[in-house]
């Protein structure tokens, strides 16, 4: 292709307020199709707030106000006709597992069912594929009818990831997904994420700088509500950071 394909997500002049408090200010960035876009930065940087704005989760947060433009696949997310279709295309994983009060199987089958899939064979296949991708299948394949909330913390988090994959998203928002997952399993999921890049786009918010380095194609550094810089990950980590604050953060001098 000669021309650059349009970005999947395009953010212009994004500011986020909670009442009088400014959580994010003047962010401009593009997220390209099939890339892993890393976001790093210390606590309070506005990373979670950014994710919330992308699929209009701000509607659930009293007092949260989003200003600026966000387009997803060329549609303004504020005025999109079918909000439910938009959310279906954007999967989210929160830092702590949010298990629905359902069996393991039903947790993962819920979204496909909502989309009208009723054939057992088809559902079985989706559930197995998603659980495998979330590196959970081997541990739960004999207890699929058991309650999801009875799994261990890390297993529940992987169940949440499987559920997000089951909705067949184009964009996957991961907010510190590995916080409750053991390192070995985290590595397995990271491998899967690399493969998933073929099919979808991922925004990876992480407190583990090395995780961003391992996974992200480009990484952005957020600090105190500002997007300080965005650069190709390799460049950023091999001394190419332009801003002193980025260098300090990467070297662990504050945060």
């Amino acid at each position: 292709m000669v021309t650059e394909p349009p970005p999947l997500v395009s953010v212009r002049g994004l500011s986020i307020h909670y009442g009088d408090k400014v959580a994010l200010q003047g962010v401009d960035l593009d997220i390209k199709t099939n890339e892993i876009f890393g976001i790093i930065g210390p606590a309070n940087a506005g990373k979670t707030s950014f994710l919330r704005a992308l699929n209009r989760m701000d509607e659930f947060v009293p007092g949260m106000q989003v200003l600026g433009d966000i387009t997803f696949a060329g549609r303004d997310v504020r005025t999109v006709r079918n909000l439910y279709a938009l959310r279906k295309r954007i999967g989210v994983v929160f830092p702590l597992p949010v298990g629905l009060p359902l069996s393991i199987y039903d947790n993962v089958a819920l979204s496909p069912r909502l989309s009208g899939i009723t054939k057992h064979a088809q559902l079985d296949e989706i559930v197995e594929r998603c659980l495998r991708r979330a590196a959970l299948w081997d541990e739960v394949k004999d207890r699929l009818k058991g309650l999801g909330s009875l799994l261990s913390g890390g297993q529940q988090q992987r169940l949440t990831i499987a559920r997000a994959l089951s909705q067949d998203p184009e964009l996957l928002l991961l907010d510190e997904f590995s916080i409750a997952v053991d390192p070995v399993t985290t590595m397995r999921i990271e491998e899967v994420l690399k493969e998933l890049r073929q099919e979808l786009t991922i925004v990876l918010v992480t407190n583990l700088v090395q995780q961003a380095r391992r996974l992200a194609d480009r990484t952005s550094f957020f600090l105190g509500g500002l997007c300080v810089e965005i650069a190709p990950t390799e460049a950023l980590f091999s001394g190419g950071a332009r801003e002193q604050s980025t260098v300090d953060y990467l070297e662990g001098r504050f945060g």
């Binding site: 401009d28 600026g68 433009d69 387009t71 079918n82 938009l86």
Partner: protein, 336 residues
């Protein structure tokens, strides 16, 4: 790194330190077709329409509640409004100490009824709230398994006893007990009606308070107990504060119940149309007065109309209580 560095370098130009004017507006239309799946975002599908219709349907439910309240208010007001606006002296009505609608000239001082209502409701709450909260905390926090189920069933049964039965209990059981224990002449008084009303309101308060306690996430209790807090400390410091809006609602519904109760209170209070000075005085309430007098007042007469003004007053007070409660609950939420 597995990714292709050439791919990476194609990002948007690095952001300069000085802010740049926000760039392009909406993307050109040719881009819209790029993501084929994205047309679904412009399409109102079955789910969307169903959501829309369901929303309207439940809105209808909500509106009908407003409609009924409005209709009742209009009815009550229409019966008494003429008198209330043109003939009634509101100062005398609100602060007059004599309610003598049938003598010549009639006196329409509602203060005895207002005070009677307040006294009896107050005594009822003093009795009901500690009982009900105790029961709710025991059932919700301490009772387990079968014991808990039985207690809940018993309390629901208690709530189902018809009010006339409570009235009979007031007349036949409480009256001699009060006369004996306190050595007073009159056994039908504020105390009697308060106890009866308190017992009637307690099951409702218990049920709702227990629901509020059950709604406190188990993780909160675990987190506090992990700090070494005793059961009681957990309840006092964590569970009750979190459940406070629900508990306030429980008390309020209890007050509403006590406030609106008519027949039991008519039977147990002695129905004396004077301001009570102690809990051993007989008293009359607004509701009981309406019930007792509406039958004998000629339709459309002054007496008839003033009873409807009493109804309006009752309406207003209830409304005021509910608004206050709502305000309290809201205030707590926004601060939380």
């Amino acid at each position: 790194m597995t990714s292709d560095p050439n791919k990476d370098s194609a990002g948007p130009p690095p952001k300069p330190a000085s802010p740049q004017p926000a760039s392009p507006g909406p993307l050109p239309l040719r881009h819209a077709g790029h993501h084929e799946w994205a047309t679904a975002l412009d399409h109102r599908d079955r789910t969307w329409w169903f959501d829309c219709i369901a929303r309207l349907a439940v809105l209808g439910g909500g509106l009908s509640a407003i409609l009924f309240i409005g209709a009742i208010f209009v009815f009550i007001a229409s019966q008494g409004i003429d008198f209330a606006l043109h003939h009634l002296n509101w100062l005398d009505f609100l602060f007059g100490k004599r309610w003598e609608p049938t003598v010549e000239p009639p006196e329409y001082g509602a203060l005895p009824l207002i005070m009677g209502t307040c006294w009896i409701t107050g005594v009822a709450m003093i009795i009901a709230v500690p009982l009900a909260f105790g029961a709710a905390i025991y059932i919700g926090e301490f009772a387990r398994g079968r014991q808990r189920e039985w207690l809940k069933i018993l309390i629901e049964l208690l709530a189902a006893i018809p009010s006339v039965v409570w009235g009979v209990i007031g007349l036949q059981v409480m009256k001699p007990i009060i006369q004996h224990v306190f050595g007073v002449q009159v056994g039908l008084n504020v105390l009697n009606a308060g106890i009866i009303l308190g017992l009637m309101a307690a099951p409702i308060i218990t049920t709702i308070a227990e629901d509020a306690l059950k709604a406190v996430p188990e993780t909160y209790r675990e987190a506090a107990e992990a700090l070494g807090a005793s059961r009681w400390q957990v309840i006092w410091k964590v569970v009750l504060p979190h459940a406070r809006p629900g508990l306030s609602a429980a008390v309020l519904l209890g007050i509403g119940r006590a406030f609106g109760e008519t027949i039991a209170v008519l039977m147990a209070s002695g129905h004396r149309l004077m301001i009570p000075e102690s809990v051993f005085d007989s008293a009359a309430t607004i509701t009981a007065t309406i019930a007792a007098e509406l039958g004998e007042a000629a339709h459309g007469s002054e007496h008839y109309q003033v009873l409807f003004v009493l109804g309006l007053l009752l309406f207003g007070i209830t409304f005021g209580i509910n608004l206050t409660a709502d305000w309290i609950v809201r205030g707590r939420r926004s601060r939380a």
